[in-house]
């Protein structure tokens, strides 16, 4: 049986975004996490914080309507929601380290069963790209990761111990991959929800580190 692809990246972010609570301040990392700003939040108000000091940005600006002086940290031209504010970088990171961010959603190369994760330096690379990730990882009240289950060459990204330099230790709470939703517990990865059409055996084969499975095991909620 060939492996199922599982969730799309937008579906992954839609599921994570269901965890955001009304009034939460949310910071999104580069790549897959940026898709969390497209999600429907219903009557929950979500305040997006960006490292470059934009507090309360809204949907991406429509082509032609961009303010060329206004992007989020991912370089996307954004709009501002009523109540938005602009601050400088030191204030922006005071909010991060000072515990004002309810959740950061980051991408990662690897996450370990103890909540360590690595997202700034690829194997064998000289230097790396830290950006705001190390500050967010220790400052945000919750660290969620959005990542593919496997690397491009087919190795698990959920591992026993990170093999590449970590961004922070023991901070990750929740991980969404294309195959399912995992919670970090003292017993390692707990598979809480499984993507539609994916077999549990595939997840077992494609997860390094200790895996436990919720019983019953629901499929990933999509609405």
């Amino acid at each position: 049986m060939s492996d199922a692809k599982g969730l799309s990246r937008q579906q992954m972010c839609d599921r994570l975004a269901m965890e955001f609570q009304d009034g939460w301040v949310v910071n999104l990392g580069l790549g897959i996490p940026t898709l969390c700003s497209n999600c429907a939040f219903g009557d929950r108000e979500i305040i997006f914080h960006s490292e470059n000091g934009v507090i309360g940005y809204g949907p991406l600006a429509k082509p032609g309507d961009e303010d060329l002086h206004l992007t989020n940290a991912g370089g996307q031209y954004v709009t501002l929601q009523p109540g938005a504010a602009i601050v400088h970088h030191a204030d922006s990171f005071a909010m991060i380290r000072g515990g004002r961010i309810d959740v950061t959603v980051l991408g990662a190369y690897e996450v370990a069963e103890n909540g360590d994760f690595a997202n700034w330096k690829m194997a064998g690379q000289k230097g790396g790209g830290i950006g705001g990730a190390m500050d967010l990882a220790v400052g945000a009240k919750n660290v969620f990761l959005a990542m593919e289950q496997l690397t491009r060459d087919g190795k698990p990204r959920l591992v026993e111990r990170c093999a590449i330099p970590v961004t922070a230790r023991g901070v990750v709470k929740l991980v969404i991959t294309n195959l399912g939703l995992f919670q970090i517990t003292k017993d390692g990865f707990l598979l809480r929800e499984i993507a539609p059409g994916v077999a549990l055996d595939q997840i077992k084969a494609q997860t390094g580190g200790k895996l436990t499975v919720a019983n019953p095991l629901p499929t990933v909620r999509l609405t």
Binding site: L30, N52, G75, H89, S92, R97, G127, G132
Partner: protein, 246 residues
């Protein structure tokens, strides 16, 4: 008082000596002092230490917006202190990285919030501080940490600079600056950390008294030199990255 307004970026950077430590504001091309950067490349000061968020200007480099790769290409850079020394995607390139990987330019990689706070501390007269950021990582190896209230923190030193190059939207002749949108980013923080601040200004510089004091983001106390710049050329602004689901 001597006028702070200079006729050109070339004049504003003319006396910058070899070996200077220079901070460059900006987050991607937004708020980046591209005109001063080009003038510095032409001026030719060498052995520079450059402090900035990223040696690469944008996720998708706009052709008309230079990054400090142009200083590396001219052999002007000794060291870069920044939050990125490699592109964030394999598909991207970074001129600086070529020089770094060959050992021609040194780099000190610093988490972005630590970089901002080291500059802020320098400007505020605070020599060092402890932060939880980077504890337990490769960056903390061999460095001083200390526990406060049961949590481990890493000692970081203030980062004073000789010059800060900043870009502002509006200014008055006293040097008071206003930024627009996310152009603010590192600019006000770097301005406090520098002995000499040079601002490139997008709008016509106002006479003293014509800027509302309540709307000043950086006081002219910090600013020594200003240059009015022309509108950016076609292709200056960053091209947003492809969406992650494309």
């Amino acid at each position: 008082m001597k006028s702070k307004i200079f006729a050109s970026c070339a004049e504003a950077v003319r006396d910058i000596p070899d070996g200077s430590v220079i901070a460059f504001g900006g987050f991607s091309a937004i708020g980046a002092p591209a005109n001063l950067l080009k003038a510095l490349a032409e001026q030719g000061a060498k052995n520079l230490t450059c402090v900035l968020n990223s040696p690469r200007n944008s996720p998708n480099l706009p052709a008309a917006a230079p990054d400090i790769g142009i200083l590396c290409e001219r052999g002007q850079v000794k060291k870069v202190i920044c939050a990125f020394t490699a592109p964030t995607r394999l598909s991207q390139t970074m001129t600086f990285a070529k020089y770094y990987e060959q050992g021609l330019v040194e780099a000190e990689l610093v988490p972005q919030g630590t970089l901002a706070e080291r500059l802020r501390a320098a400007g505020a007269g605070i020599p060092a501080f402890y932060t939880p950021t980077a504890v337990g990582t490769e960056l903390a190896v061999g460095r001083e940490t200390r526990h406060f209230n049961g949590r481990e923190y890493l000692l970081e030193l203030a980062l004073p600079v000789d010059y800060a190059f900043v870009r502002a939207h509006r200014a008055d002749a006293f040097g008071n600056l206003q930024f627009h949108g996310s152009q603010r980013n590192f600019n006000p923080v770097m301005a406090t950390a520098a002995r000499t601040v040079i601002a490139e200004v997008e709008e016509e510089i106002l006479p003293r008294g014509k800027m509302d004091p309540n709307q000043v983001h950086t006081t002219g106390l910090f600013v020594q030199r200003m240059v009015r710049i022309p509108p950016p050329p076609e292709g200056y602004w960053p091209i947003p990255p492809k969406r992650a689901d494309e």
